[in-house]
C-alpha cells in the first residue's frame, strides 16, 4: 500500500509556449502561401498539357540532393533540440551549425539547379516555376535566419534546459520548410 504524504509538492503549471504558438501560426500562414503557389503551378500545367516544359529539362539529381540536404538538416536540428533540453550545449551548437551548413548548401544547389534548367520569366512556365521554387527558397532563408537568431541567443545563454523554447520553435519552422520542399519536389520536380 502506498501512502501519499501530507506535504506533497503541488504540480507546476505547464510552461506557456508563447514562441511555439507564434511559430505555429506563422507556419500555418507560410504553408497556405506556398500551397497556393503550388496550386497555381499545377493548374497552369494541367491547362497547358503536353506543351508544359517542352523547351526545358529539369534534372533529377539536384532536386533529390536538395531533399537529402534538408532531411539531414531536420535530423540535425532535432538533435539540437534534444541537446539543449539536456544542457548538452556543445552538441547543440554543433547540431545547429551543421543545420546552417545544410541550409547554405540548399541555397547554393537551388541556384545551380535554376541555371541547369535554363528557364526564363518570358516563357509561359517561367512565372509559375520561379514563384514556386523562389518562394520556397525564401522560406528556407527565413528558416535559416530564425535558426541563426536562436543560435546566437542560445550562445548568449538565453536558452537552456529550463527554457529551450527558442530552439524548439526554430526547429519546428525548419521541419515545416522541409515538409513544404517535399510538396515542391513531388509537384514540380517529380511529376513533371
Amino acid at each position: 500500500m502506498s501512502i501519499i504524504p501530507a506535504t506533497i509538492t503541488p504540480p507546476r503549471f505547464p510552461r506557456r509556449r508563447q514562441l511555439l504558438f507564434g511559430t505555429g501560426l506563422v507556419s500555418a500562414g507560410v504553408t497556405i502561401f506556398f500551397v497556393t503557389l503550388i496550386g497555381y503551378y499545377l493548374e497552369a500545367r494541367n491547362a497547358a498539357g503536353s506543351q508544359w516544359l517542352s523547351e526545358n529539362v529539369i534534372p533529377l539529381t539536384q532536386p533529390n540532393m536538395l531533399l537529402l540536404n534538408l532531411v539531414i538538416g531536420s535530423i540535425m536540428v532535432q538533435w539540437a533540440v534534444y541537446a539543449i533540453a539536456r544542457n548538452y550545449r556543445t552538441h547543440a551548437y554543433i547540431a545547429l551549425g551543421i543545420t546552417m551548413v545544410m541550409g547554405l548548401a540548399f541555397i547554393n544547389q537551388t541556384t545551380f539547379l535554376w541555371s541547369q534548367v535554363g528557364m526564363t520569366m518570358a516563357q509561359p512556365e517561367g512565372p509559375y516555376f520561379f514563384a514556386a521554387t523562389g518562394a520556397h527558397l525564401a522560406i528556407c532563408i527565413g528558416a535559416m535566419a530564425f535558426l541563426g537568431v536562436m543560435t546566437f541567443r542560445a550562445l548568449g545563454g538565453q536558452y537552456s534546459q529550463t527554457y529551450p523554447d527558442g530552439v524548439s520553435a526554430a526547429a519546428m519552422f525548419w521541419h515545416v520548410n522541409v515538409a513544404l520542399y517535399t510538396v515542391l519536389w513531388l509537384a514540380v520536380y517529380i511529376m513533371k
Partner: protein, 525 residues
C-alpha cells in the same frame, strides 16, 4: 579561482534615471499594447473616412452630374475602395481593438510579441498610406501608370502581411498568456472571436499575398493588372468575406452581457457558434470562378447564417433574464446584429441561387456580392466603433461621451443599409441607366453617412483625450457626460485609466468566464 557568482554590489538595486520619452518616441517605439491598439483604431477610422469618402464622392457624382470627376477616376475608386475598406478599415479596426482589449480580457500584463505588434501597426500604416496615394494618383487597379499600379499592388501585400503579424500577436496572447486557471472556454467572447478570426486572417491573407506575389513578379502593365483584378476579388466574396464578421459576434456577445450586468446563459453555445462561423468562412480554396459554382460552395454559403443566428440569439437571450441598461453599446450591438443577420440572409440567397443546373432566378451576381460586401464591412465598422465605446474607459484615458456616441449608434446602421441598398436592388432588378444613377446616389449618400460616423468616432477619441487632459488639471470641471460601463469579465478589473502592466492590484481569481460577477449575476441562484 573561478568566479561563478555575480559580485553582490552589482545586484543591489540602483536608481536609474532615464530621460523621459518624447511623444514621438512613445508613439513610434512603443510596444505597450494600449498605445499600439489606440493608434491602430484611430488610423483605421481615419482611413475609413478617406475610403468611404471616395465611395461617397464616386456614388454622388454618378448619381447627380457625372461632371465632378473624370469617369476613369470613378472607375478607379470603385475598383480600389473594396481593398481599402477591408484591409485599411474593417480588419485593422478590429485588430486595434483586439490589441487593446484581449490582453485585459485574458488577464495578461501585455500582448505577446509587443515589438511585432508595433511592427504590424507601422507596416500596415505605411501600406495603407501608399495604397491611398497610388489610388488617388493614377495607380492601383484601373490606373494608367505602370509603376503606381505596381505600388498599389505592393501596398495591398504590405497591409496583408502587417495584419497577419498583428493577428499572430493577438492569437498568441490568447493561447499562451491567459491568467493561471483560465481555460480557452472561459475567456470573453471577444477574445475567443479574435482567436478564431486571427487564425482565419492568417490563413486567408497568406493566400491573397501568394496571388499578389505571383502577379507582381510578372511586372504587369496597367492593362494586365486590370485583367488580374478578378483573381483577387475572392477575398470580397463569400465565404472569405465573413472573416470580417467573426470579431463582431464576440463584441456583440460581450456588449449584451455587460449592458445586462449578467452572465451569458449560453456562453459555450456562443463560443461554439463563433467557431463554426470561422470554419465556414475559410475561403482561400474558392479563388477560381469555377470553384464558386461547386455544390460545396453553395452549401457553405447557405448554412453560414445558422451559426450567426445561433450566436446572436444566444447573446440576446441574456437580455431576457437581466435588466439591460440603455446605452450606446447596446444600440451599436443591436444595429450590428441586424446587419449581420441581413448579411447571412443575403449569403443564403446568393448561394442558394446557384444550386441546380444554373441560376434559379436571374440576378446580377456581381452586384449582389458587392451589396453583401458592404453589409459585412459596414457591420464590422459599426461593431468596431461600438467596441471602442463599450471599452472606452479601459482603452482611453477618459471614457467616451455618451451624447456623442448615441447618435452614431442610431445613424450608422441606416447608413450601411443605404450603402448596400444600391447594389442589392440593382442585383435583383434590371435597372435602366436612370435607375442606376439613382441607386448610385443612394449608395453614395449611405457611404457619406457611414463616413460621418467614422468621423464622429475620431471626434470621440479627440474629446476623450481632451477630457483626460482636463481631468489632470485640478482646476478643471469634471465631465459629467462621459459614461463607463462595468461587466463580469477580467478586463473590467483592469486599472482605469489604463496603466503599464494593466493589473496593478493583481488579476482577480475566480472560476468561469465571469469571475467579477456574484452568484446572482452568474445565474447560480
Amino acid at each position: 579561482m573561478t568566479l561563478t557568482e555575480t559580485p553582490p554590489e552589482t545586484t543591489q538595486e540602483r536608481e536609474v534615471i532615464r530621460p523621459r520619452a518624447t511623444l514621438v518616441e512613445e508613439l513610434l517605439g512603443s510596444g505597450d499594447h494600449t498605445i499600439v491598439g489606440r493608434v491602430y483604431v484611430f488610423l483605421a477610422l481615419l482611413m475609413g473616412v478617406i475610403h468611404l469618402g471616395c465611395v461617397a464622392i464616386a456614388g454622388i457624382d454618378t448619381g447627380v452630374s457625372n461632371e465632378i470627376l473624370d469617369p476613369s477616376v470613378v472607375d478607379r475608386f470603385n475598383l480600389n475602395t473594396p481593398f481599402g475598406l477591408m484591409l485599411s478599415v474593417a480588419l485593422p479596426l478590429m485588430l486595434g481593438l483586439a490589441i487593446c482589449v484581449v490582453p485585459l480580457q485574458v488577464g495578461s500584463p501585455s500582448i505577446a510579441f509587443p515589438r511585432a505588434a508595433g511592427l504590424s501597426l507601422w507596416g500596415w500604416f505605411l501600406g495603407s498610406s501608399l495604397f491611398v496615394v497610388s489610388m488617388l494618383v493614377r495607380g492601383g487597379f484601373g490606373g494608367s501608370s505602370e509603376k503606381l499600379g505596381q505600388l498599389g499592388l505592393v501596398s495591398i501585400g504590405l497591409m496583408s502581411v502587417a495584419l497577419m503579424i498583428g493577428s499572430i500577436c493577438v492569437a498568441s496572447t490568447v493561447l499562451s498568456l491567459r491568467t493561471a486557471g483560465q481555460s480557452i472556454a472561459d475567456i470573453g467572447h471577444f477574445s475567443f472571436a479574435m482567436l478564431v478570426a486571427s487564425t482565419l486572417w492568417v490563413l486567408t491573407l497568406s493566400a491573397l499575398v501568394a496571388r499578389i506575389v505571383f502577379i507582381f513578379i510578372q511586372h504587369p502593365d496597367p492593362i494586365e493588372l486590370l485583367d488580374e483584378y478578378s483573381s483577387l476579388t475572392w477575398i470580397f466574396l463569400q465565404p472569405a468575406i465573413f472573416i470580417a464578421l467573426i470579431p463582431l459576434l464576440g463584441i456583440i456577445g460581450d456588449a449584451f452581457a455587460t449592458m445586462t450586468g449578467r452572465a451569458m446563459s449560453f456562453h459555450g453555445v456562443v463560443q461554439g457558434a463563433i467557431g463554426v462561423v470561422g470554419l465556414l468562412s475559410f475561403g482561400a480554396w474558392a479563388q477560381n470562378a469555377g470553384s464558386r459554382d461547386a455544390l460545396v460552395w453553395a452549401v457553405l454559403g447557405m448554412i453560414i447564417i445558422v451559426p450567426i443566428m445561433i450566436a446572436l440569439l444566444a447573446s440576446a437571450e441574456t437580455l431576457r433574464h437581466g435588466k439591460p441598461t440603455f446605452g450606446s453599446p447596446l444600440v451599436f450591438a443591436a444595429g450590428a446584429s441586424t446587419l449581420a443577420v441581413l448579411a447571412g440572409g443575403m449569403s443564403f440567397l446568393i448561394a442558394g441561387n446557384t444550386l441546380g443546373e444554373g441560376d434559379i432566378v436571374d440576378v446580377d451576381y456581381n452586384a449582389l456580392s458587392l451589396g453583401l460586401f458592404y453589409l459585412v464591412i459596414g457591420a464590422a465598422i459599426i461593431g468596431g466603433i461600438g467596441g471602442a465605446v463599450l471599452w472606452s474607459s479601459k482603452i482611453w484615458d477618459a471614457p467616451f461621451e455618451e451624447k456623442l456616441a448615441l447618435p452614431v449608434a442610431a445613424l450608422a446602421p441606416l447608413g450601411v443599409i443605404a450603402l448596400a441598398a444600391g447594389p442589392l436592388i440593382a442585383g435583383f432588378a434590371t435597372p435602366s441607366i436612370d435607375d442606376v444613377e439613382t441607386l448610385m446616389l443612394i449608395t453614395g449618400i449611405g457611404a457619406a453617412l457611414v463616413a460621418l460616423c467614422a468621423l464622429d468616432g475620431l471626434g470621440l477619441i479627440a474629446m476623450s483625450a481632451r477630457a483626460a487632459m482636463k481631468s489632470s488639471d485640478e482646476s478643471a470641471d469634471s465631465d459629467d457626460d462621459a459614461t463607463s460601463w462595468s461587466g463580469g469579465t477580467l478586463e473590467w478589473a483592469a486599472a482605469t485609466p489604463p496603466v503599464a502592466g494593466n493589473f496593478p492590484d493583481g488579476v482577480p481569481s475566480g472560476a468561469g468566464p465571469y469571475p467579477l460577477f456574484g452568484s446572482d449575476e452568474k445565474g447560480d441562484s
